[in-house]
Amino acid sequence: MKTLLKVEQCGIQFGGLKALEGLDFELKEGELLGVIGPNGAGKTTFFNLLTGVYPPSSGRLFFKEQLVTALKPHQINQAGISRTFQNIRLFLNLSVIDNVCVAFYQHIKYSLWDVIWQRKKYVEEEKQLKAKALELLTRFDLHKQKDELAKNLPYGDQRRLEMVRALATQPKLLLLDEPAAGMNPTEKKALIELIRHLHQELKLAIILIEHDMSVVMELCPRIIVLDYGVVIAEGEPDYIRQHPVVIEAYLGEKKDVKSM
């Protein structure tokens, strides 16, 4: 398998605060990687680094063997990295289907000139776009609400819609920032199936940030643990689960009860 993403000694510094330090890893094509860590460990900063929201203070980023360190967020997306957000960022006053259609933007061939003249090229491509959007929505079981405004959707649906929207840009790498946050166990189960399905069927590389250990442990063959901006462990779920440093980061230091 070829390397898709290469992070080379990346760090982000806000003033005196080192939010991320010495990050160094590779992601293969079609790999599913989990990133966990306690609150404030730098997980979302890590995504913001990959998507160009914060350029790294040090180090280099390669995507498909191209240097992408200095690219702006929209250029990163055009290169093939798409993301969802921890606090959902939908276009709330647009309909569900429009949220998806606008994400096709960079793949749309007609121009606004074709729109103004209502050319055949526009009418036909627009029809195909709607059909494609509907197909994606159906896969995520959102097709019944396609004309609903995004803000009227329940929370779980909004999270799924954000995933559909990210997929519509046709990425090579999908970054999911806490997709299971605020979901109940049934919804979580469905979500796990969905992510697995995306990963296997679309051969999509995914990096998953998640608070919920059960989701990450079940989905990801490889996991990275962050704490205070530094990678403290990396490996398979079983290895991570028993790793003393990880346990300490999550639960605190182990102390002998008798000695207290």
Binding site: T51, V53, K72, P73, H74, N77, Q78, S82, R83, F85, R89, L90, F91, L92, N93, L94, D98, C101, V102, A103, F104, Y105, Q106, I108, Y110, S111, L112, V115, I116, W117, Q118, R119, Y122, E126, L129, K130, R165, A166, A168, T169
Partner: protein, 320 residues
């Protein structure tokens, strides 16, 4: 092209209603109708910038001024020098060809100025953008106020009238075009980028949209139509003054967009018509109220406040 019949039909309808209105309606009412057409063009083009794209521009009258002065300058200074072309163009439509030429020149000048002003200001957000555009509109006004060639504060006089006096046709042809372009654009998937940037800049850039480019597109297209409107206005009036394009004018257009509902195509068209008609309606109230006509500007403001308060969103929605 399957739109050809629709375009021809629109033109025929507009010309017919021009002659019909000229025959039936007295010139004063006709003038009010023309002002409504101009307001629709200006408000709809501002709707693209402020309503759909969520920018807060307070300088729309500035772009209208650029369009008006440039189109007028082309008509007054350049067209007479093009007499050598007369042989090439049939007599009947010669006036129209030159008129369209100056309108397009005005609109392109406005779009160019929009682009140049957009370069620095579109990096600003919200209130900062509002103040910056306000400042630029003032600069434009001051510029024309001091330009000898266009008469300074005394006004730019001697602008030729619209050829064949088909005023109604041109005013509404441009209004229809503006509403058509803005409406069709913003309802296509590609044109949803305006709304996406308004809704969430961070999310839209994560989808590969450069929000600077999208804003610039809205700004340039909006200025273009403001310039077109300005060009027609100049030829309609015959004389234009820098004071015609002051901050109050810009605010008038903003009020139309806000009252009509930001990003609502027909709501803004209706609001533009209503707010242009209102001060005229208040001019001569029927007998028991006629005394109130002295206070018409106060009434006008009061009515705006009241309609803003009671404007039900569902009404605005139902007409869209």
């Amino acid at each position: 092209m399957k739109q050809a019949p629709a375009i021809v039909l629109t033109i025929v309808l507009l010309i017919l209603s021009h002659y019909l209105l000229n025959a039936l309606i007295n010139p004063y009412y006709l003038r009010v109708i023309l002002l409504i057409g101009l307001s629709i063009t200006l408000a709809t083009s501002l709707n693209l910038i402020n309503g759909y794209t969520g920018l807060f521009s307070l300088g729309h009258a500035g772009f209208m001024a650029v369009g008006a002065y440039s189109a007028a300058a082309v008509s007054v200074f350049l067209i007479p020098k093009l007499a050598f072309l007369n042989g090439l163009i049939p007599e009947l439509i010669r006036g129209e060809v030159f008129f369209v030429l100056s309108l397009l020149a005005g609109a392109c000048a406005a779009a160019l100025v929009g682009f140049m002003i957009g370069l620095p200001t579109l990096r600003l957000r919200g209130d900062y953008l509002a103040i910056a555009t306000l400042g630029f509109a003032e600069i434009i006004k001051v510029f024309f106020n001091n330009l000898e060639a266009v008469g300074k504060a005394k006004g730019f006089t001697g602008i030729p009238a619209i050829p064949h006096a088909v005023n109604f046709f041109w005013v509404f042809f441009i209004a229809v075009t503006c509403v058509w372009v803005v409406g069709k654009m913003t309802s296509s998937s590609k044109g949803k980028d305006f709304a996406a940037v308004r809704e969430d800049e961070i999310a839209s850039s994560s989808l590969g949209l450069s929000h600077f480019k999208v804003k610039m597109k809205a700004f340039v297209i909006g200025s273009f139509f403001a310039g077109l409107g300005g060009g027609v206005y100049a030829h309609l009036e015959g004389t234009i003054y820098p004071e015609n394009f002051n901050i109050l004018k810009s605010i008038e257009f903003v009020v139309m967009v806000v009252l009509g509902g930001m990003g609502r195509l027909w709501g803004v068209v209706l609001a533009a018509a209503f707010l242009t008609l209102l001060p005229e309606l208040l001019r001569e109230l029927p007998p028991p109220f006629s005394i109130l006509s002295q206070f018409r500007m106060i009434l006008y403001s009061l009515i705006i406040i009241i309609t803003m308060l009671i404007r039900s969103k569902s009404f605005a929605k139902s007409i869209n």
